[in-house]
Amino acid sequence: MTLFVSLGESVEAIVLRLMSRAPIFTDTPVISPTLGVVTYPFRMTQNSEAEIETPLAPRQWRVCQQSHLDPGDMLLGVRIAGHSTKPLSALQLIQGTGAHKACQSRCKDFGYARLEIPLRNVLNRIVGSATNAPAEAAPAIERRGAARGRIARKGK
């Protein structure tokens, strides 16, 4: 099992377990230009996890080339967003850390999830960099697979 915590890291799987301390939010379905099917977006906003339970077969990415695909690979972060090709299964209330409860659900058929941060933080960096330096170009958002050295790998 490998844990990923860097911004932009993503996982793809047949069955993806999702867990969040706050409720899991859903947005209106999107006809994915990449997959060519209707996808069901979801967002988790607090102490979120996305873990691969059943990997893709064959082990081939469908949404993002840098996605992690191995069984047990897990995203861990405050905010995780993604989509599935089937509606999320019913939410379960489970024991989280300590006295906290958490919501858990699963992507069936196919699921994609990635770590995100609020856009305002990125924009504040842009404004901050503009006030400190004359550079006009916005600093690049850390993209998927970037900063590999910062990926925290922990064996469980």
Binding site: P29, I31, A81, L119, I141
Partner: protein, 169 residues
């Protein structure tokens, strides 16, 4: 009719013109009078320039209202969709029934000019305090998340609102 023509009432007319012939004005200024103890200050601006500035300001506000109106519409659609999702979670709808209902809300991400998206993001950040993520913004403006990432990464500062943008709570 310009703003100035609509706003300013004629107070005095000197001379006469033939009403059948169009009037070509050679001098068209808006005059400003300011008084202070012992002082009267008279200044002026070309009406055409003032009119253009007012129009530009109005169009800018209209564009911002359009962006925020679109966002409100999206939230309303989300809310309606989530009523169906709630029914599905509660077992009132089968998965098949929910997928049929959800298909009505499905959309294909639209193509948008990167500068327009950056401007829209600037408006959203300026007038809200919510913590929107790239996927949030993508859904609100019906574009792909990758496009939001690329836009914010690559565009110059001026297009996302410049230093005047309010980005903090």
């Amino acid at each position: 009719m310009s703003f100035a023509e609509a706003t300013f009432l004629p107070l005095l007319n000197f001379g006469q013109t033939d009403s059948d012939k169009p009037v070509t004005t050679s001098f068209d200024y808006v005059i400003r009078l300011q008084s202070a103890p012992g002082l009267i200050n008279i200044s002026g601006a070309p009406t055409r320039a003032l009119d253009a500035a007012l129009r530009q300001s109005l169009e800018s506000w209209q564009a911002r209202c359009m962006v925020l109106g679109g966002v409100i519409d999206r939230f309303k659609v989300r809310e309606t969709y989530n009523v169906h999702y709630r029914d599905y979670l509660l077992g009132h709808l089968s998965e098949q029934e929910f997928e049929t209902a959800a298909a009505q809300f499905a959309y294909t991400p639209q193509s948008m000019d990167a500068a327009t998206l950056a401007s829209n993001i600037g408006v959203l950040m300026s007038y809200t305090t919510e913590e929107f993520t790239p996927s949030d913004v993508a859904d609100l403006f019906r574009v792909t998340t990758e496009f939001v990432d690329d836009t914010v990464s690559q565009l110059p500062l001026a297009l996302v609102g410049g230093s005047g943008m309010q980005t903090g709570r």
